[in-house]
Symmetry: C2
Subunit: 138 residues, 2 copies
DNA sequence: TGTAGGGTCTCTAGGGACTAGAGGTTCAAG
DNA sequence: CTTGAACCTCTAGTCCCTAGAGACCCTACA
C-alpha cells in the first residue's frame, strides 16, 4: 500500500494532481487509513501510469476517461480507442503544421533584426504591425 | 470612429476579446459616446492588428505588452524586441520537436491497431498502459 | 513514551486567455 | 417613433492543473 507521496514519486505525477484526478473521476477514490490518508494498491499505480502516459501524449482528460472505460470492459470493441488515438494523431499533425508556419515566420523576422537598431526601425516590430510583411499564411 | 463590432470585423478579434484586452491593459481604453459605448480611432485599429498578429504567432499577452511598450518608445534599442522574438522562436521549435515525437508514437500505435479487435487485445490501450512499448522518448 | 518533522488532509483561489450568459441600455435604419 | 441589432457591465465557466492556509497524521529516534 502506497501513500500519495510515494505514488507520486513512482509515477512522476504531482501530489495535488493525483488528488485532482480523483476529484474529476479519472482515478478511483482509494482506501484510507484510520487517520484518513489515502493508500493505493498496485492496480492504481498502474492506472496512474496509464493516465500519465496518455497525458504526456496530449490526450485530454475526457479522452482518457473514455480509454479507461474501455480498459474496464475488455470485451468491448476497440473501435473507440482507435478513433480517439487517430483523432489525437491528426490534432498533433495539425499543430505541427501550424507551428512550422510560425517557425518560418519567426525565423525570418529575427534574422532580419539583429537587435542593434532602435525600436523605430525594428524589423520585428514592423513585421508584427503589418501582416503584409509575412511570406507564409498563418 | 469605429464601434467595437466594426473593429472586431476589421481585425478578426472577437468583441469580448477586445474588451478583455482592454481590461488587462493591452489596449488603451477608448473614447466613449454619450451613451457609454466605445469608439475607436485608426491608431487603435492598427494596434489591435498588431496584437492579433502577435497572438497568432503565439506571443503571450505579457510579451506583447513589452513589444507595445517598445513601439511607444521608438528611440529605445530594439534588443528587447529581438530577444522576445528569439525566445518565442525557440519555444516554437521545442514544441515542434516534442509534437514530432508524439506523432511518431501515435502513428505507430494507431497503425498497429485497426480497431477490429476487442479492448483486451487493443494495441492502443496496451501501449498507453506500458511505456515500454514506446520507441521514442517523450 | 514523548516529540519533532515531514507528510497529508480539506478548502479556496489563482493562472492564462479567453468564452458564455444574464439582464439592461443605446444606436441607427425605416 | 419604433424596432431590433448591437452595445453595456458583471459574473461565472473553460482546461488542467498549481499554490497556499490551517489543521491533522505518521514514523523514527531519543
Amino acid at each position: 500500500m502506497l501513500s500519495i507521496g510515494t505514488l507520486s514519486k513512482r509515477t512522476g505525477v504531482k501530489v495535488p494532481t493525483i488528488r485532482y484526478y480523483e476529484q474529476v473521476g479519472l482515478l478511483a477514490a482509494p482506501e484510507r487509513t484510520d487517520g484518513n490518508q489515502r493508500r493505493y494498491g498496485p492496480a492504481q499505480l498502474e492506472r496512474l501510469g496509464f493516465i500519465r502516459h496518455a497525458r504526456d501524449l496530449g490526450f485530454s482528460i475526457e479522452a482518457i476517461s473514455a480509454l479507461i472505460d474501455l480498459q474496464d470492459h475488455p470485451d468491448r470493441s476497440c473501435v473507440t480507442a482507435n478513433a480517439i488515438a487517430r483523432t489525437q494523431l491528426s490534432d498533433v499533425r495539425e499543430k505541427i503544421a501550424r507551428l512550422q508556419r510560425l517557425e518560418t515566420e519567426l525565423a525570418r523576422i529575427t534574422t532580419r533584426c539583429e537587435g542593434q537598431g532602435v525600436a523605430q526601425n525594428c524589423y520585428v516590430l514592423a513585421s508584427l504591425a503589418d501582416h503584409g510583411f509575412c511570406e507564409t499564411e498563418h
